[in-house]
């Protein structure tokens, strides 16, 4: 491989051994979870029995994708400081989730964020619109994960792209179909512990020659590649783009269906609150460690070697593992990266199944009247359907550059799900029409603006120029969705929804146990 010494991409015994251990352990968990999954509430929300700390790990597991682990490490390895900009952006959504969303969501909903929006509005139109918003986000996120999975596994284990998709799709399907949210939660916890532990160990090993001092490592990198590795580079050139991307990252997290769904797995709002605090700590720590890994790779492996193996630098963390820990450690970290992909895809699939089964089938087609047996059956059918869709999308987008799709998912989430969720819990005069039009405006404007942007027109379609020079639509679409939601609500008031706000406010703070109207006021 052009003089780069690596066993990456060869079928490695240790990698397969670690991988098989992970698969057997998680399938054993799934078997245990399957016996405990008898009701819809257990399938979608683990019966509300997950503790705050467990959910903190699981939230971190849902959020820390292979793209951020390998992608940020690669970006830092090849360009230095700029990787930190992404790390910061991906973290700042979490405080917003804590302050504005987590507790009201836990108290007002059951399985999906649409429950909250539909609480005092007309159920059907709101559920349809929310499901569209949710499923759009899930689809783009899934495409990015599946294509990334296929490519990564090909590079790590030398498997064929299609085989990789089939393995990811099948194993993920087993988790979700049989173990529901209980299995998915434990897969996330195992994965989060492995990823946090593996990344920390890797950072420690790469710091050993530098007396455990990260600054010594950074200055070695600056010595080798010039002082500019410690300074902002080309990533942020226009303040407008930077703020626009920032808005999508900051408010997008609060609109990701698979993240929001996790708050229903804890017993109460207090546990929901605690779980975001733990998750923010784990994720923040993880991103800081990833920064060290990037510099570690540029020093221990070298930029030329990293970009020779993969132009985008995505293999930096894995090459570092081999350089500082030998082939067995490379095998371990590769297996962890694989586990990471599996867990994220499982979380996405389960939240998509909730939108299809709970919002669309039970909420819309069955008018909210479906017995337990039917609900569970539909949930499982939806899971199988989504697993097939995920694999299909992976095949369809094979060989495409889909890195922008995660950004697109965040943009859509920030400009449809988040505004509607926030307005429905904070604004008395919010109406059904307002909610539906805000979601439609957000989804459509985000898609249209991305389509007109250089990302699609120039990078993908190879046109000489783009219709619009803005790459990140957030700065237009987030305010637009709020604006449309507010104006439409004011133009067409809905007195019934306004009258029910007192109940929403009460339940939002006091929880579901206190929903009966108070007798004597």
């Amino acid at each position: 491989m052009n003089g780069v010494q690596t066993s990456l991409g060869e079928t490695s015994g240790t990698a397969i051994a670690f991988f098989l251990v992970f698969i057997s352990a998680t399938l054993a968990i799934t078997g245990w979870a399957a016996r405990k999954t008898k009701t819809t509430s257990e399938f979608f929300a683990a019966g509300g029995n997950v503790s705050g700390l467990q959910n903190g790990f699981a939230l971190a597991g849902d959020y820390m994708s292979a793209a951020s682990f390998l992608g940020i490490a690669g970006l830092v390895a090849t360009s230095g400081f700029d990787g930190l900009i992404y790390s910061v952006g991906w973290l700042v959504g979490w405080p917003v989730v804590t302050f504005l969303i987590a507790e009201p969501l836990r108290n007002l909903g059951k399985y999906t964020f649409a429950d909250v929006v539909a609480y005092r509005l007309k159920k059907k139109p709101v559920r349809i619109a929310s499901a569209i918003g949710g499923l759009t986000v899930i689809s783009f996120y899934l495409i990015a994960q599946m294509v990334g999975a296929g490519n990564l596994i090909k590079m790590m284990f030398g498997l064929q792209y299609e085989t990789a998709l089939l393995i990811v799709g099948t194993v993920m399907l087993l988790y979700v179909l049989f173990g529901g949210m209980i299995a998915t939660t434990w897969v996330q916890i195992v994965k989060a512990v492995l990823l946090l532990g593996g990344a920390t160990l890797l950072a420690v090993l790469s710091l050993v020659p530098f007396g455990m001092n990260p600054l010594a490592l950074f200055s070695k990198a600056a010595e080798t590649y010039g002082p500019e590795v410690l300074a902002p580079g080309k990533l942020v050139s226009s303040p407008l783009e930077a703020v626009s991307l920032g808005l999508a990252l900051m408010f997008g997290t609060a609109g990701l269906p698979h993240i929001l769904m996790r708050f229903y797995t804890v017993p109460d709002a207090k546990a929901a609150r605690a779980s975001v605090f733990y998750a923010t700590g784990f994720i923040g720590f993880f991103y800081l460690v990833t920064f060290i890994l990037g510099f570690g790779a540029s020093v221990h492996v070298g930029r030329t070697a990293i970009t020779t193996v993969d132009k985008g630098g995505n293999m930096a963390a894995l090459l570092l593992a081999e350089a500082v820990g030998g082939r067995p450690f490379l095998g371990f970290v590769s297996a962890v990266a694989f586990a990471t992909i599996l867990a994220v895809v499982a979380g996405l699939t389960l939240s998509g199944a909730a939108a299809l089964a709970h919002d669309l089938w039970v909420g819309v087609i069955r008018h909210g009247q479906a017995d337990e047996k039917e609900q569970l059956k539909v949930a499982r059918v939806a899971t199988i359907f989504l697993a097939l869709v995920a694999m299909g999308l992976g095949l369809l987008f094979k060989g495409q550059n889909v890195a922008f799709m995660v950004g697109l998912a965040f943009a859509v989430a920030a400009s449809s799900n988040f505004p509607v969720l926030l307005l429905s819990i904070t604004w008395k005069k919010f109406t059904t029409r307002g909610a539906v039009s805000a979601i439609v405006a957000g989804v459509v404007s985000a898609l249209v603006l991305i389509w007109m942007s250089p990302t699609i027109q120039v990078d993908l379609l190879k046109n000489p120029t783009a219709i619009l020079s803005l790459k990140n639509p957030g700065i237009i679409t987030v305010p637009l969705s709020f604006f449309v939601g507010i104006v439409v609500s004011l133009l067409f008031p809905e007195p019934e929804a306004e009258a029910k706000y007192a109940e929403v406010e009460r339940r939002m703070h006091l929880g579901a146990a206190d929903t009966e109207p108070v007798a004597a006021e």
């Binding site: 930190l84 302050f99 410690l230 226009s238 923040g284 006021e521």
Partner: protein, 96 residues
């Protein structure tokens, strides 16, 4: 009384939540705009191996976590107490 109490607790939570959201936004967008406009400044070295930008970026991550912790601390100490009191009251038929 009960409704009034609830409104007061809700207003207190809104104030804290919005204040902390604004603080997080200020820290984050401040960092981003400095990255866009103050490249040489952020590239200046504080000590060997550490630039101002690296320190500020890590600080935004750390602050996000601290703000989250501050909210959780406040909510556990104050918000929950009032909420429990109001919920307890209403279970006994409200307004005593």
């Amino acid at each position: 009384m009960n409704e009034k109490d609830l409104r007061r607790v809700a207003a207190a939570r809104d104030r804290i939540a919005l204040g902390l959201t604004a603080a997080t936004m200020f820290a984050y967008f401040g960092f981003i705009l400095l990255v866009a406009w103050g490249k040489p400044l952020l590239g200046s070295l504080l000590t060997s191996g550490l630039s101002l930008g690296m320190l500020l970026g890590s600080l935004v991550i750390f602050l996000s976590w601290v703000f989250t912790g501050a909210y959780v601390y406040w909510a556990n100490r104050h918000y929950d107490v009032h909420v429990d009191r109001i919920a307890g009251k209403s279970k006994h038929g409200g307004g005593t």
